[in-house]
Symmetry: C2
Subunit: 141 residues, 2 copies
DNA sequence: ACTGGTTTTTAGATTATGTCTAATGTGAGA
DNA sequence: TCTCACATTAGACATAATCTAAAAACCAGT
């Protein structure tokens, strides 16, 4: 996604394109590392303009609410963030907690019988195990 | 699951069957409400014997490590716990954060091509939307 | 029953993560 | 230019969970 596209996605969600917000989005788009809020904060502050911690959290929240970014909660660790580019599934490493993308494929939805009156918005598949780096030393945590 | 079965499942994992640990497991088994650690702590302490907060957390961790209990991380909220009885999927409410069980059905696994050298342990499906209680007032958070 | 070693529990301090507050800054439209 | 809603900020605050160090419970072997 290029700068203008980021602009446009902000416009479409009624979000101003501030330098701080732009920096967060741009960082997420050019790293599919699924960083934590703390990592994003640090990264965008290694280059100007300076952004505060509160602003980083505010912007992440706004972007998630706008549907431009996905938040991934992980047991016992900080949440991770992920620009919603192409659809994909997630692989979460038991050992290091890193999140990696798995090529998207379609998932069968539950029958209306088991959903009842619930309103389904999305449906995500999460794989767990050991990532490429951790698999060799199949250690405990 | 009856008391002896709980005993046996503890034995099988090398965990002593202490009153505090038993209380946690029994509570999880008789409520499929997916309570938070705080709720479990409060609940087991409404009846004797008293269990401390640290012990509740310790025991939950032990049970998760032993594979008897599942932990479900939820964005912006406390983790929830779930005795692993029958296999099932999870529905997480966008509005109230409650977790509900969805009848299990088999999920296609990714091809070995997209997994690479990763070691797959499990594969869970998470549905999001509004639960039965929240669907009527389809509000924002 | 006593000993020694392991596991478990405990209260409270501590850490980690994220949110809130109140003041200040910024920019788009009248 | 004025105005007002939106953004940013530093630091206080809140919440969830973990850690620490000491005491207690438990078991196996004697």
């Amino acid at each position: 996604m290029n700068p203008e596209a980021i602009q446009r996605s902000f416009d479409g969600s009624g979000l101003r394109c501030t330098p701080q917000r732009y920096a967060v989005m741009a960082f997420l788009l050019e790293h599919n590392r699924h960083p934590t809020a703390a990592e994003i904060f640090e990264a965008v502050n290694r280059v100007d303009p300076r952004s505060s911690r509160a602003t980083t959290y505010n912007n992440l929240r706004d972007l998630v609410k706008a549907g431009l970014v996905r938040e991934v909660a992980i047991e016992g660790r900080a949440a991770r963030f992920d620009a919603k580019g192409m659809q994909h599934h997630h692989f979460i490493c038991d050992r290091c907690g890193n999140v990696e993308d798995i090529k998207w494929y379609d998932v069968p939805r539950p029958g209306p019988g088991s959903l009842g009156k619930r309103v389904l918005r999305e449906c995500e598949l999460i794989f767990r195990g050991l990532c490429t780096k951790c698999a060799p030393r199949r250690a405990s945590r």
